[in-house]
Structure formats: C-alpha cells, structure tokens
C-alpha cells in the first residue's frame, strides 16, 4: 500500500524524465547514429531556440496565461536587431547595441501584451492572437516582405560558434534554464506566479499585486524571445520576415505541456520544460533519420502533445 503510493508519486514528478529516457533508449536502438555526440549536440542546439522561449512560456502558463505571439515577436525583434546591427556598422559594439535594444524591444512587446491583458481585462488568448498578427505584419511591412540581411562578418560567429565543444545556443539555454529554475523555485516572484495561477482571488486577498505578477511574466517571455531572436538571426545572419519564428508558439507551448506543467496554471517546472523541449527535438530527429516525410512531422508532434495531456489527466 505504502510502497505503491510512493511509486505513483514518483511517476508524477519524474514522468517527463522517464519519457525522455525511454525515448533515448528506443532511438538508440532504431538508429546507430543517434548516440553520436555530433547528433546529440545538434539536437540540443536545434531545441535551444524554442526551448528558451519555453522557459518564459512556463512562467506565463503557470500564472494562468498563454502567449501566442512569440513566433511573430521573434521575427519582429530579430529583424529590428539586424537593422540596428547594420545601422551601427556591424562591429562588436553594434552587436552589443543590437542585443541591448533587441531585449528592450522584446520586453516592450511583452509589456504591451501584459498591459492589455491586465489593464484591459482581455483574455490572454485573444490579446496574443491579435498581437501575433500585428507583430508579423509589422515585420513584413518594415522589410517590404523580404529579408533582413546582416552585413556583419562577426555576427554569425556567435550563433554558429561553440565553447568547450558545446554550441553557444546550448550554453545560453542552459544558463537561462538555471536562472528560470532559480526564479521560479527560490524567489518571491516565482512563488507569486504560482499563487496567481492557482487562485487569483486568494492571491489578491493575500496582498499580492496580481496585475504586476502577470505583467512581469509577459515581460519575461518578451525578454527570452529577444534572446532567441538574437541567436537565430546570428546563426542565419538574416531574418526572413515571413518564415522566421513560424510555429515557435506551438513548440514552446508543447515543451511546457510535455514537461508536465498544467495548462490550468498554478504549478509547473522549468526542468520539465527543458526535458519537454528535448523530447520534441529527439522526436523530430528520429523522424528525419528514419526518413519519414517532413510533412508528417507535424502530425507526430501534435500526437505527442495530446498524448502528454492525456497522461496528465489519467494521473489525476
């Protein structure tokens, strides 16, 4: 009796990790190339971009919100970063300026979402659906529906480069994940995010500034979107106004859900999101290796998301 309960509890907490381990074992059997360091690092690098956004999405979803605008925002911020980079001449300081202004723009775009949601009392789904269209359209307008192309030779080295054999985006993902974990589990803000998502009314009566907590969660996701935009535009040395960041909202939300964070808010885990992102990456990788049509990859991704939620339901 006692033992079975303990076991159940463990599954609840370590479910995503268990799924990851199972997936790795299966993949290793299916393909001899899977466990090669190069392939593994490649997977990690590929999942970094949406994984980083997923970290911010974890906060937003735990607080009871959602952000659909992150893909469009990636394109907008990335485009403007390249614009700034070129404006300042493409040197080290230009790159720094692009990063700083880019993060400011990202946080600003997130704040715009947060402001309408908290002050305007509009549902997050609607607001970010609207800004998803707005941010994309602005990107297309500024670029004339073309590409933002960097003139810097230095810029691509950041996104392409690696440190101690590990690609830079993976480092950034790791560091941000650690910070995210610290904030969520060990700071007042993290506690308040869970409280607001758990029951807004109780949080308000408990002297928590509910609007500010939610507002900040959208600013956090805006900030991490800017970092992803920076890494992405650096790797490609350009940003396509129509394609950049497409479906990022799907991947980021999927990582959060697969990681075990409840869509209803109130509790969740950063580590889970990291695992969720990696699971998605492995699935994509294996579909490629097994030669399955890329058109079918969306189907598999969709099934994984729905499956993860079904398992969460069953556990309850």
């Amino acid at each position: 009796m006692e033992a079975s309960r303990k076991w159940k509890f463990d599954i609840e907490k370590f479910g995503p990790l268990l799924a990851l381990v199972v997936l790795v074992v299966i993949s290793a059997f299916l393909s001899p190339y899977f466990l090669k360091t190069r392939n593994l690092l490649n997977i990690l690098r590929q999942v970094s971009y949406t994984g980083i956004i997923g970290l911010g999405m974890t906060f937003v979803i735990i607080s009871g919100g959602i952000d659909l605008s992150v893909g469009s925002m990636t394109a907008l911020v990335g485009g403007l970063m390249i614009y700034i980079l070129n404006f300042f001449g493409g040197g080290p300081w230009a790159i720094f300026a692009a990063l700083v202004f880019g993060i400011a723009i990202g946080v600003g775009a997130g704040a715009a979402n947060g402001l309408i949601i908290t002050k305007g009392r509009v549902a997050p789904f609607i607001v970010t659906l609207g800004t998803m269209a707005i941010y994309r359209s602005l990107t297309l307008y500024i670029s004339g529906a073309g590409e933002f192309r960097s003139q810097s030779n230095l810029f691509p080295e950041i996104g392409m480069g690696s440190f101690l054999g590990i690609p830079n985006p993976v480092w950034i993902f790791g560091i941000l994940a650690f910070l995210g974990w610290l904030v969520l589990n060990h700071t007042r803000y993290g506690r308040y995010v869970c409280a607001v998502g758990s029951n807004e009314k109780v949080a308000n009566y408990s002297a928590i500034n509910v609007d500010r907590v939610r507002m900040v969660s959208y600013m956090i996701i805006g900030g991490v979107v800017a970092i992803t935009a920076f890494l992405l535009s650096s790797r490609l040395n350009s940003i396509s106004s129509s394609n950049a960041g497409a479906n990022y909202e799907l991947d980021a939300i999927a990582a959060v859900i697969i990681g075990g964070t409840a869509m209803s808010g109130g509790s969740g885990s950063i580590l889970g999101t990291v695992i969720g992102a990696i699971i998605l990456g492995i699935v994509n990788n294996m579909l490629n290796m097994l030669g399955i049509s890329p058109y079918l990859q969306g189907t598999v991704k969709g099934l994984v998301i729905i499956g993860a939620v079904l398992i969460q339901r069953k556990r309850k």
């Binding site: 007042r188 869970c194 409280a195 029951n199 009314k201 949080a203 308000n204 408990s206």
Partner: protein, 498 residues
C-alpha cells in the same frame, strides 16, 4: 423484514497515509433520519463523500437496499437514488435556477428540444413547497447564500431520491427557513425516504433526528437514539472529555484608539459608517445576512472602492486601496469564505502560511529553512493535523484549512485583525479553541473586529457591539446593552436610526 435502506460495513479511508475514517459501520432504515455529528476532521464529510461516490473507500463496503452498492461516481449515486446536498454549493452561477435544477436531466419535447415550460412549472412547484421567494428564471449569481441553499434543496428534491444526504444545510439559513426545511424533512420521512443529516447544531440534531451517530478522529464513538442523549452528553462524546467554559473572560481594552473610521461609504452598499476601535478591544459586528458587514471589512482592506470617508490609524490618515496597503498598515483579514479567498488548495502548508509575509522570509532568494520552521511552529501551536508540511491543502478538512488560514493572516503580525465568521461550520471544541485564541490575541494588545452571525458568540466575546442594518450602523452597544433582544431590535430596525 426488508433489508435496511443503507448498510455501511467497516468503512475506512486513508489520504496519503493518514487514516481519516476507521472501520465505520451502521445501518439506516427507510423513513429514518440519522444525524452524524463530530468535530472538524472527525470524518463526517469523508464518510458521506464515500456514500455519494466522490471518494472510493480504502476498506469496507456500502450496501444499498440490501445489495452491494458499488457506487462509481456521483452521477451513479444519483441514478441509484442517493442525492447529496453538499456543504459547498454545486450550482453554476451563469445559469438560472431551473436550468441548474434540471442540469443533465432536462425535460425534452418530441424531437429533442428542451421543454422549458414544463421545467419552469416543476421548479416553481418545488420552490413553493420550500416556501421560498426565488423565481425559476433568476440567475444563480444574483441569489443570496440562503437562496442558493434553497435551490440546492429543490435540486435534491427534484430527483425523488430514496436517500438524501444533507451536509450542514442550516448554517446559512434563518429561523423560518430552517422551520420550513424541517417540515419538508418530516414529509420525506413519512414518504419512506432515508435522510442522513450532518450538523454542528446539536439542538437541531436533537429536534429532527431519530438516531445520532457520533464520530471522533475517524472512529465511530457511538450510535444511539437521540432521545437517549442530552445535548451536553453529545458534545462531551464528540470531544472526548468534559467541556469547560466556552467563552474566556473579557479583557478590558485600553483607552488608546487604534483605528477610527469616519463617514465611510460604498455606493449602493454602505453609508455613513463611523466607529472607533481601541487597543486590545474586541469589537463585535452584528446584523442580519446582507447588512453589509463583510462589505465593510472589504472596504477597509481596500478590496472595495470607497466613495467617501476617512480611515485613521493611530491618529494618522491612511489611504488603503488594496490588500497590500492593508498589510502595510498592519491590518489582517480572515475571510468567511476560506476556500474561495482564504487558502490556496494546491499549495502546501508552508507556502500558504508564508504567502502574505513572504518578504520576511526572503532577501534575494527565499529562505526555505526559516519558512519551514515557522510553519512547523504554527502546526504545533494550532494543532494542525497533516501528514506532512508538503501535503496540499485540498486534502485537509475544513477546520484544518481554517487553522492554516488563521496562521497565514497572523504571520505578518497585524495590530488590527478583522475576523469574519471565524466559527462558521465548525464544531464546539474548535470554536472554543478559536475563542481562546482570539482572547490571547487581544491580551497581546491586538485589536479585533469580530464579524459574526452567531448571537452567543457576539455577546460572549465583544467589549462593544456595532449593529448594522442595510449598510448603515443602527447602534453601538456597550456593557449592559449587549444582550440578544437589544441587538435584534437594532438589527431588524425596530431601534436605532436606520
């Protein structure tokens, strides 16, 4: 002889290792009213939740009409003829009365369209049997708590059930409403319906129930004819020892005024509210349901916008626009609606207790050790029963949740404590604990505003009593004036400027 309507055999239930119900067995005959009494956490709610299919028993079996009931879920229970009127309402606020009553079993016309007229007629009939003034087409969200309770009764009656379970149905009802309810219960009894009646009001149990089952710490202490037990004996059996003085001796407040409220108003709810609160005083707020007492508390702590009026604390004007401002001014509020606004049910004890006072437990990072230590202190101090500090509050009994809620409001060390119906729905012994606890607070110099609908509590505890009626203060009573008739005169508008 026909089998008993309900037979419960060796029923036990555990939650994460804590045994909350231990081998309970009893029988209920057709046309019998069985009272179940016990302290908070004694297992009453757990027992009926098993019978009504919300929980699964860890051990034991339930027989209904002689066969194993094997109840899958509440719907299954309902189809078998077991209806429950829960403690917390199960009504959908955005639907109207008849839509709620017929939810899931709507009358249909040929072709599948809803037969609204027939449903409205039937609802009207049920409501008039209950002698309540609610209209079938009113929205649930527009009803008062007592009216919602009446709609719950109507809903249970609409099912024509064989077994009716009522979990503290009278806490929000007035005298006349209770009388009507008892008449209906007697009618049902005569029709052969079995009723399980859970209550903290021993007088009611004695009046309406044929037999009474007493639970303590999940164990069945006794089951006997109500005529064979006096109220005092019931209380003693519930608690397991002799009860001493219920109310502590009153503390003499100092002359120093802590808070002064002047001409406060909230449009449509409150008007011309002025009173003062002294250091170490218990200021009782009495009045009928809807007289604006909770609204006043909410205006003071900044949940409701004041259209006019001043609040002075220690002689200084303060502007409280949110609960944050209230906490800054050392005002705490313990709400009557603990699940709605008191505690976070998916948080553990530690995180709940430190929710308001979290700045005290964090520099840049939260000091988890300090936080846990303080929570452990409250668990001991308030005798909170929990498997561990991590157990989520949804697994706690109402009384234990209330204690956590209390610890949470007190942890920021308030100097003014507004307590709204602190003993609603809890038993004699827990009440006594709370009274003595409030007393210990005022002895430390904390000033309390005690909002309560229980006359005895107001009279037994307060240094002065403010009586409200329709959003206005009709009298502030002191000394000899604090008695039941005087309070009622002011509350009903027979005395005082209303």
């Amino acid at each position: 002889m026909s089998p008993p309507l309900l037979k419960v055999e060796g029923l036990s239930k555990e939650f994460s290792g804590v045994r909350v119900l231990d081998k309970v067995s009893f029988e209920l005959q057709k046309g019998e009213i069985l009272g179940i009494i016990g302290e908070n956490g004694a297992g009453k709610s757990t027992l009926i939740k098993i019978i009504s299919g919300i929980y699964r028993a860890t051990e034991g079996e339930v027989f209904f009409e002689g066969t194993p009931a094997d109840i899958q879920d509440p719907r299954d229970a309902m189809e078998k003829g077991i209806s429950t009127i829960p403690q917390e309402f199960n009504l959908i606020p955005d639907l109207n009365v008849f839509e709620n009553i017929f939810l899931g079993k709507e009358y249909r016309k040929v072709g599948g369209l809803l037969d609204k007229r027939r449903m409205v007629e039937r609802t009207d009939q049920l409501l008039s049997e209950l002698q309540t003034s609610v209209s079938p087409t009113e929205m649930i969200q527009d009803l008062s708590v007592a009216q919602k309770q009446m709609v719950e009764f109507a809903k249970a009656l609409a099912y024509q059930s064989k077994l009716l379970i009522m979990d503290e149905p009278t806490t929000v009802l007035t005298g006349t409403e209770i009388k009507v309810l008892f008449e209906i219960m007697e009618q049902l009894r005569n029709q052969g319906v079995g009723i399980i009646y859970i209550s903290h009001k021993l007088k009611e149990v004695k009046t309406i129930c044929d037999r009474v089952l007493i639970l303590r710490d999940g164990e069945m202490i006794t089951i006997d004819e109500t005529d064979a037990l006096s109220e005092h004996q019931m209380a003693t059996l519930m608690v397991g020892r002799e009860l001493s003085q219920v109310f502590p001796e009153k503390n003499a407040p100092s002359a120093e005024t802590v808070m002064q409220v002047e001409d406060l108003a909230v449009p449509g709810l409150l008007e011309g509210i002025s009173f003062s609160l002294k250091k170490g005083e218990i200021l009782g707020f009495s009045g009928l349901v809807g007289s604006g007492r909770t609204e006043l508390a909410e205006a003071i702590i900044g949940i409701r916008k004041k259209s006019r009026g001043k609040v002075r604390i220690h002689g200084k004007d303060v502007h409280i626009r949110s609960p944050r401002d209230a906490v800054k001014n050392k005002i705490a509020y313990l709400s009557e609606d603990r699940q709605g606004i008191g505690v976070l049910t998916n948080f553990g004890i530690v995180e709940n207790i430190s929710l308001v006072s979290l700045p005290n437990y964090s520099r840049f990072l939260i000091q988890h050790g300090k936080e846990r230590k303080k929570a452990a202190y409250y668990v001991k101090e308030f005798n909170i029963r929990a498997a561990s500090l991590k157990t989520r509050l949804e697994f706690f009994s109402g009384g234990n949740q209330q204690k956590v809620s209390l610890a949470k409001s007190l942890d920021p060390e308030p100097s003014i404590f507004i307590i709204d119906e602190p003993t609603r729905g809890i038993d004699v012994n827990a009440k006594r604990e709370i009274y003595h606890f409030i007393h210990s607070l005022v002895q430390k110099g904390i000033s309390c505003i005690l909002i309560s609908s229980e006359m005895e509590e107001i009279i037994g505890m307060s240094n002065r009593v403010v009586v409200m009626r329709e959003g206005k203060i009709t009298g502030i009573l002191e000394g000899e004036q604090i008695n039941e008739p005087e309070i009622m005169f002011h509350a009903t508008g027979l005395k005082g400027v209303a």
